[in-house]
Symmetry: C2
Subunit: 277 residues, 2 copies
């Protein structure tokens, strides 16, 4: 039985959304819906237009025998700003203050809808960077890495501070923790990252920058390349940071443990002049 356009549109939309950055041949869709390629092309233009109008992303059509269609999730910068402003409001609560100038984020980083928004906003910055893998450090960065990796549709790898028996052989490096000046160790399973990979680093919170420098060394150790660094939140009040390029979605401008107050604003990604890739 031939499938109606309306049903094709619904199923094709779902199919594309579930497979970002994956090239799907028109032949596949033509077979799936027992429809002519010309009809499929028309369906795709409707999806393309709707995705554009609603800021869902780009539907890219590549011509030729090896061609097909690819869905690339993006987000308009003004929408990203709105989303992150909402998160700033959630974070601007003194109840989140923890000893040592830390901020309680576990509830936010355990909320799937919120994580999807974070993942989308971060992934949109790197759609053109041909990212092969997303890297983070256990444990707090994991949900963010997973969310970003889902939108880029690439694997994520987890660097650990303690070796686990279930990792197999690991590569281990030492790094200086920026905030405490101590030398620490991190490890990555040998088989989790191929040589020559382009790696995006993400993390939940940037303070001294030591952990991220550690991950950059780790990536070099795997003869791979760091193509970007993005953190969910950075501590703006901490000046003792080692230098590398990064974007942040949120900046914690001030924490006053005496007054028990916290001030949170947009991160450097929203500074004037920063453009969406």
């Amino acid at each position: 039985m031939k499938i109606k356009r309306s049903e094709r549109l619904v199923d094709m939309t779902r199919y594309l959304l579930e497979r970002p950055h994956r090239l799907i041949s028109l032949t596949y869709f033509a077979k799936r819906y027992e429809s002519a390629k010309s009809s499929i092309s028309e369906d795709l233009s409707i999806i393309k237009k709707t995705f554009e109008d609603r800021g869902t992303g780009i539907v890219e059509t590549l011509p030729g025998a090896a061609g097909g269609v690819k869905y690339i999730p993006t987000i308009k910068k003004e929408n990203a700003r709105e989303i992150i402003e909402e998160m700033c409001e959630i974070m601007n609560s003194k109840d989140r203050l923890l000893p040592g100038g830390y901020v309680y984020l576990s509830d936010m980083l355990g909320n799937p809808e919120l994580l999807q928004k974070i993942g989308r906003v971060i992934a949109a910055q790197y759609v053109d960077k041909k990212v092969d893998a997303v890297m983070t450090v256990a444990t707090k960065g994991v949900p963010i890495a997973q969310a970003v990796a889902t939108y880029l549709n690439v694997p994520f790898v987890i660097v650990r501070r303690d070796s686990k028996i279930t990792e197999g052989s690991t590569v281990s490096i030492n790094y200086v923790s920026g905030s405490s000046d101590r030398v620490e160790k991190m490890e990555l399973s040998k088989r989790s990252l191929a040589r020559g990979s382009k790696v995006l680093i993400v993390d939940d919170f940037l303070k001294g920058g030591g952990t991220i420098n550690g991950m950059r060394s780790m990536i070099a150790e795997f003869e791979s390349e760091t193509v970007g660094v993005t953190v969910f939140a950075e501590a703006g009040y901490n000046s003792k940071r080692e230098v590398f390029d990064y974007t942040s979605l949120i900046r914690v401008n001030n924490i006053d443990l005496k007054d028990h107050s916290i001030s949170v604003g947009l991160g450097n990604y929203f500074d004037e002049g920063t453009e969406l890739a």
Copy 2:
């Protein structure tokens, strides 16, 4: 400008897919598309039928003033079986064998498309259980918990073996590790789980069962209820297991470290008589 049916179908499909288990009023859609509720209702019947035909899930319409529409992701058991059989093939590789009878899974648990499938298959077992939160233990369970929580659209909480400064006050319990008979400790941030929650436990690998028993005690400590336990893989060769109800997607039937061989098959969820909830 009024939006055409075809564009409404594309955008509505995306909107519903991004918000599983969330009730959305028809008024919301009517305003979003500047269309009559009757047209929205017709759109929704098309989406409902397509989602049913393709095994995407259920589109539930609740009548009345407080009514609306809800998308509930499900999966047909035969499709779930196919998906998990594919994963068994990936796992049936002696290269995955690690000392101590462990199996290397980090690549699979760092693959977003695969994780989404796992999340969908596990979540589908609990659509009627009114789950309030998904719980797991750091670090390996986190990606699975996040994937399941995304489909159930509830928060996930992470129990830790080591206290972190960024967690705030924690509740700590002792538990007996089933495989080693040692007493260990696990902790959960006090504010991460509300009293009286219905909690689904998920984990990557079930061996002795000690960790899961620990999580069950933790849930009791929070005056909450364990509504289910599902693991991605279980070690079928280990008989020294403490008893609780659980489902597994994959069973590692045999590991022979001398022969350097591994044998993997479908987990107990696919045993005869087990029905999708």
